[in-house]
Subunit: 230 residues, 2 copies
C-alpha cells in the first residue's frame, strides 16, 4: 500500500540525494498545473484528469502523491502560503524592531504586510500570480474558511498586535473592522479579474501591481489612523 494516508504529505522519494535523470519534477509539475487550473475554476471546476494532462503525467499519479484530489488542493495552497507567511511576518517584526521603544508607523506596518503579496503578484513567475488568484477565491468562499484560518490566523494576529502598538488609543473593534476592509480590498486585488481596468476605461491597470499596492498602502494607512480616533 504505497500511498497510505499517513504519508501522502511527504515526498515519496525523500531519501534520495542526487536527482534521478528524468522524473523528479513530476510532483512539481502537478502542483504547478493544479495551481493554474484551481486558481481560475476553483476546486470543483477542475478535474483530476485535467491536472494530470496539463502536467503530462498519468491520471493515477495525483492520488499516489497527494492521496486524493482534496489532498492535491491542500498541497497547492500550503506550498506558497509558507513562503509568503515567513516574508510577511519577518517584515512586520523588522518594523517593530526598528521602532525600538517608539511607535512604528502604520504605513510601514501595512507595507510590510502587503509588500510580499505585491512581489508575488508582480513576479515574472506566473505560478505566483495564479496563487494570488487562488487565495482570493478561497477567501471568498465560506466552505474553505478553515483553510484560511489554518494558514493565516497567526500572521494576522501579528499584524493586529503591531497596529495596536502603532495606534495605542484605537479601540479593538475599530482595528478589526479596518482590517476586515483591508483584507477585502487586498483580496479583490489578488483576484485580478481585470474589472478595474474595464471600469476605469484603462486608467487603472490591475496588472501594474506596484501601482495598486502603492494606493492600497496610502489609502489604508489613512483609514487605520482615522479609525483609531473613533
Amino acid at each position: 500500500m504505497p500511498h497510505a494516508d499517513s504519508s501522502f504529505q511527504k515526498t515519496p522519494a525523500a531519501r534520495k540525494v542526487a536527482a534521478p535523470k528524468e522524473s523528479p519534477q513530476r510532483r512539481r509539475r502537478l502542483l504547478d498545473a493544479a495551481e493554474e487550473l484551481f486558481s481560475s475554476r476553483g476546486f470543483y471546476g477542475v478535474t483530476v484528469r485535467q491536472v494530470a494532462e496539463m502536467a503530462e503525467v498519468d491520471v493515477a499519479l495525483p492520488n499516489y502523491y497527494f492521496g486524493s484530489k482534496r489532498g492535491l488542493f491542500d498541497a497547492v495552497f500550503h506550498r506558497r502560503a509558507e513562503v509568503l507567511n515567513e516574508a510577511r511576518g519577518a517584515g512586520i517584526d523588522a518594523v517593530i524592531a526598528a521602532a525600538g521603544d517608539g511607535r512604528p508607523s502604520v504605513e510601514d506596518i501595512l507595507h510590510a504586510f502587503i509588500q510580499p503579496v505585491l512581489e508575488a503578484q508582480a513576479s515574472s513567475d506566473p505560478g505566483w500570480r495564479n496563487y494570488c488568484r487562488l487565495v482570493a477565491q478561497v477567501n471568498s468562499s465560506a466552505v474553505f474558511a478553515e483553510m484560511m484560518s489554518t494558514h493565516f490566523d497567526e500572521l494576522i494576529a501579528k499584524l493586529i498586535s503591531a497596529l495596536r502598538i502603532a495606534l495605542p488609543h484605537a479601540k479593538e473593534r475599530e482595528l478589526y473592522w479596518a482590517y476586515h476592509f483591508l483584507t477585502g480590498a487586498l483580496t479583490l486585488t489578488m483576484a485580478d479579474t481585470g474589472r478595474i481596468d474595464h471600469l476605469s476605461h484603462g486608467l487603472c491597470h490591475s496588472a501594474d501591481a506596484h501601482d495598486a499596492y502603492r494606493h492600497l498602502v496610502t489609502f489604508f494607512a489613512r483609514g487605520f489612523t482615522a479609525a483609531a480616533n473613533d
Copy 2:
C-alpha cells in the same frame, strides 16, 4: 419542442391569470434552491440533481425551465440583481437631486450605494443572504467577470459620476482606485464567511450587517475624501 432556445427565459405558463392549485411555484423553488447551493459551493460545485432534489422537483425540470445548468445559474443571478440595481440607482439619484446645485456629500452617496445591500444581507429572507454570498463569489472569479459587467457596470458608472460631483477636484485615477477598494471591502462583507467574527474573538459580528455597513460608510467616506486631495 417545448423548450426551444429562444423562449427559456420566460415563464412557460405566462398566459395564465389565476394561479393553479399546486404547481406554479416550482420555478421559484428551483431558483431558491439553486441560489442556496450555488452561493455556498459555486457553479461547478453544484449538481443539477442536487438542485432538483432540494426543490423537490424532477431532474428534467431545470432544463425545461432554464435550458441548461448555466441558464439556471444566470437566472438566479439575474433575478435579484434587477431589484438591487433599481434600489441603489434610485438612491443615488435622490441624493444628487436633493443637493440641487450644491455638492452632495460623499457619505450620502456611499450610503445610497451600500444601504440596499445592507438591507438584503440583514433581511429575514435567507434568499437575500444567499444571493449576497453568490455575488461575492462571482466577483472574485475571473471566469465570471462578464456577468458582473453585464449587471453592474451601469450602476457603478452612476456611482462614479455622483462622486465626481461631490469631489470635483479628485483625479479620475484616485476615484477608481478608491472605488476598487470599496468594492473589495463590500464583497468580502457580502461573502459573510464568518472570518471577522473568528479573528476578532467575537468582538465583530458579520451577522450584524448594520454594524458592518455603518463602519463601511464612515471608513470609505473619509477615504474618498482624502484620496481626492492626492
